[in-house]
């Protein structure tokens, strides 16, 4: 079943949700999720999304999934290592250009 933002399926005004979590709805939170996980929002909007995720059961799994996905991507750093021969070759070319290391 396609995902429907809770705010359109049902108003995000459940009794369990504190007042300050109603400042943004699910659509707004989802729209800003990547920016939030990337730390690219300004502080008030970071707080808005954080508060929403802390209390919205519909949106929390999205954030968890996004975090796991981004962590897996970051791990690519360790998998894509430069072969030692490349460093040796670059250092050799630099030395021919006049560079002296140490």
């Amino acid at each position: 079943m396609p995902w429907t933002p809770a705010s359109t399926a049902a108003p995000a005004t459940g009794g369990d949700m504190p007042d300050d979590a109603r400042s943004i709805d699910c659509t707004s939170a989802v729209r800003q999720l990547w920016d939030y996980l990337d730390g690219e929002l300004d502080e008030p909007r970071m707080n808005d999304v954080r508060r929403h995720l802390e209390t919205c059961q519909a949106c929390l799994p999205h954030a968890d999934f996004g975090r796991r996905f981004l962590a897996a991507l970051r791990d690519a750093r360790a998998r894509r290592l430069m072969p030692p021969a490349v460093r040796s070759r670059v250092m050799h070319v630099l030395s021919q250009a006049g560079f002296t290391d140490g």
């Binding site: 995902w3 999720l33 990547w34 996905f69």
Partner: protein
């Protein structure tokens, strides 16, 4: 009057301190652009040679890795004679909402939990290599090299909005590849149930 030998020594010390330590990072970025280790090696060599010869233009204290990434990107464009001016018409907000819809589908069918049990590395690497170059470079800079949207925009020579839209589109494509990987591995989701590992 400055001493040329002392100036040269200072230049080399600065280059060794600020530029050399980023060679692994530059290689990863070059590899993400070329997808070919031999071509990446050539680009890294060209990048460092140009950086050394242009060291006088580097502003001490600024972000040397970002500077090297920019030189690397330009070296790649020169080598492949590509235009720096690319226009994207992707809507980042629409991509965000579409990504959430895809997440929901994966959460509903249990794929998200199953993916958490797999070794995603090889599948992610293949998925990364399958992206078109502008998307691959953006993911590499932001998601792997931890550059801000603004820094990536500067390196790639595109507006921040373009970085954002490329990034979100690329992440959706990567997630779809991972979902297919889970299916190819014989993993069947099912809300509330586990599954066998690949």
């Amino acid at each position: 009057m400055s001493d040329p030998r002392a100036d040269g020594k200072a230049k080399d010390e600065g280059f060794a301190r600020d530029a050399i330590p980023w060679m692994d990072d530059v290689y990863r970025f070059a590899l993400s652009l070329t997808r070919d280790p031999a071509d990446a090696q050539d680009i890294v060599q060209e990048t460092y040679l140009r950086a050394y010869r242009s060291w006088h233009t580097f502003e001490p204290g600024s972000d040397c890795r970002r500077w090297l990434f920019t030189i690397c990107r330009n070296a790649f464009l020169r080598a492949h004679q590509r235009s720096r001016h690319e226009v994207d018409v992707i809507d980042g907000d629409a991509e965000s909402v579409a990504a959430a819809r895809d997440h929901r589908a994966m959460i509903d069918d249990g794929t998200d939990r199953l993916l958490a049990t797999l070794d995603l590395g090889p599948a992610l690497d293949r998925a990364l290599d399958s992206l078109d170059e502008p998307f691959r470079a953006t993911v590499q800079l932001v998601d792997i090299e931890d550059q801000s949207y603004e820094a990536a925009a500067g390196i790639l020579g595109v507006p921040i909005g373009t970085v954002r839209s490329r990034l979100f589109r690329a992440r959706r494509q990567l997630q779809e590849q991972l979902r297919l990987h889970a299916l190819d591995a014989g993993i069947h989701g099912g809300a509330g149930h586990g599954g066998r590992h690949a």
